[in-house]
Symmetry: C2
């Protein structure tokens, strides 16, 4: 099997959520796996000078219109959360904690977390909410609660963010396939075509 | 005929150039006219805090890769100009000066200016270069040279930029069709679909 697609996203990113509902199916059509990689855009924005889209004058209004419009186009349920944007430390740490034990289940947790945030309006930046969602798929809640507080997991997340930046990741979603980068959920048609044709 | 598509762009914008090679044909398929509207992103960036893409850390490298990649996908000739980005006062003023007399020829001038900048590597921020290109399609060079220096034309451009901002324009290209906004050349497939279906 060819190399997996690297899929970088922030749990706080609407377009990251939209991409998360489609990337596995897209990859499977090309016989590729997907490596899910949550990151913290806040840390990266310090280098690029960017800000969360909805907070930007003029631009913010457009994106608050485009998030649900793009979701409707893709037939994906979407509601801009009440608490938005959020710092996504808790869900990201939970993901990496689980990933070290069960990568497939970590992906399932990520999907549940995204759904909780963008469909059920649950503030997943609060550790107790992330823990409750994890418990809902059978995870050991006390073990996860302790796990996301370990220096090892905190350090793991920092390293993932740094490694992403080193690879050029500056937004969410961001895909790398065979070294080729694609940024944004609107680029997924081009990503699809790249996989089908080997590039242009 | 239905209302025209408003097409906002900065002559310095690579994606504005790419869009300019396709928007008239796209619109014609839906029996729409296109109102071309050059603007100055520099003035708008003061409000949004944005910067020219290639100047942004990390992000800049991606876009310098994506400009030619997108151009290849669309089979549009493209070369990142030696002088880039530029302040596009001279070409924008020339456009509006001509537009008041001959809107169709103004569109032709805009296409020539884009080609000069993105294919022939001519710095169109220099008034003498913009004037030479205009002369190449039969315009009266002294009249245009005087025209772009009149307070009336300088004011016209300022008003166009302000009017664009008031309508929510923050980048290039930016399209408005029947009140619906689309930003970016990668959104043109969605714009096409919106025109075909009346929205979703």
């Amino acid at each position: 099997m060819a190399d997996p697609i690297e899929f970088y996203f922030d749990f706080s990113s609407p377009y990251g959520y939209l991409a998360s509902t489609r990337i596995d199916e897209l990859a499977a059509r090309h016989r590729r796996d997907v490596q899910w990689r949550p990151i913290l855009l806040g840390a990266i924005f310090k280098f690029t000078g960017a800000a969360p889209l909805p907070n930007i004058p003029i631009k913010g209004e457009y994106y608050k219109h485009d998030f649900p419009r793009t979701a409707r186009l893709l037939s994906v349920p979407f509601k801009l959360p009440t608490a938005f944007p959020i710092a996504s430390l808790a869900p990201s740490r939970a993901f990496y904690w689980l990933q070290e034990q069960n990568p497939q289940q970590a992906k399932e947790l990520a999907k549940r977390l995204f759904k909780a945030f963008y469909v059920d309006d649950i503030d997943i930046s609060k550790p107790e909410n992330t823990l409750a969602i994890a418990a809902g798929i059978g995870l050991d809640r006390p073990a996860l609660a302790a796990g996301i507080e370990t220096p090892l997991i905190k350090e793991r997340l920092k390293k993932e963010v740094q490694s992403a930046m080193d690879k050029g990741v500056f937004g969410s979603p961001y895909f790398i396939v065979d070294g080729e980068p694609f940024h944004g959920s609107d680029k997924m048609d081009q990503l699809d075509r790249w996989l089908a044709t080997g590039g242009w």
